[in-house]
């Protein structure tokens, strides 16, 4: 099992922008502890959902060859809470993409209304950290992540 916090991509423009849906459900166990009397989607998991939406966008831009690691939460602001039954959309666009890193800027929509703004940076770790060695295989992008985006890439060269 993998820690996946988006349900489906609804837009994917390679190397430019993407949007993914997350339906918040009371069937999610963590909501019963956060909080028992008043379940609220944790902001940290919305940041994770945005990081996955953006991380897949950044990874696909280099054909999933780089190990893309969340390196910095530059900004994360939320105006309101999210509760079971709400639908979130993480919209994100790439601001910068270089050999060693990427920066992105995104919005969090709740039932169509913007309720948050998140800016992130990703590191292509094999290009950084002064030659530190990481495992050969790409442990970031495994089947489940790639399957999420596959419908948008059909018909393109692999």
């Amino acid at each position: 099992m993998r820690w996946i916090w988006i349900d489906r991509f609804v837009e994917f423009v390679p190397a430019r922008r993407a949007a993914a849906i997350k339906n918040v459900s009371l069937a999610e166990e963590h909501l019963h502890d956060h909080w028992e009397d008043y379940p609220v989607m944790p902001a940290s998991l919305m940041i994770e959902g945005m990081a996955q939406t953006a991380g897949i966008l950044v990874g696909q831009a280099r054909d999933f060859k780089e190990k893309v690691i969340l390196a910095k939460i530059t900004r994360a602001e939320f105006d309101d809470i999210v509760v079971p039954g709400d639908q979130l959309i993480y919209q994100v666009e790439i601001e910068n993409l270089t050999a060693e890193a990427a920066s992105v800027r995104g919005s969090v929509l709740r039932n169509g209304q913007e309720i948050g703004r998140i800016s992130l940076m990703f590191s292509h770790i094999d290009q950084n950290l002064a030659g530190a060695k990481f495992p050969e295989e790409n442990f970031v992008f495994t089947g489940q992540f790639e399957r999420l985006v596959a419908p948008f890439l059909e018909g393109r060269d692999a």
Binding site: A71, T74, N96, S103, S123
Partner: protein, 130 residues
Amino acid sequence: MPITEAEVFEKVKETLVEALGVDDDEITPEATLTGDLGAESIDFLDIVFRLEKAFDIKIPRGELFPDNIVNNPEFVQDGKLSEKGLSQLKERMPHADVSEFEQDPDINKMAELFKVQTIVNYVVNKVNHS
């Protein structure tokens, strides 16, 4: 019309406030990026991205913040920059004031060369001579 150093400083200040989440009164010309402003390695890339946008310039990797001097055994001796390392540093970082550092070129103190003024000098030169 050439951009003045004061104008560059103001924009660099805005850039650092956004990239590092510090207050604008913490940004003085002598403030060091890592020591005083708490920058980490990924922040240096963030700063480069933001400067490129703010000043509409292209900053090649390693030009503003040279990253392969201390990793080169040719330039380091007993934890200090050698003569060769120092001259390499001066050649690569004409925008940094190395006068204090060269008295005791301990590589652990190299981060102190990265001051707000170092960025300002780099940008002034880049914008007005490109």
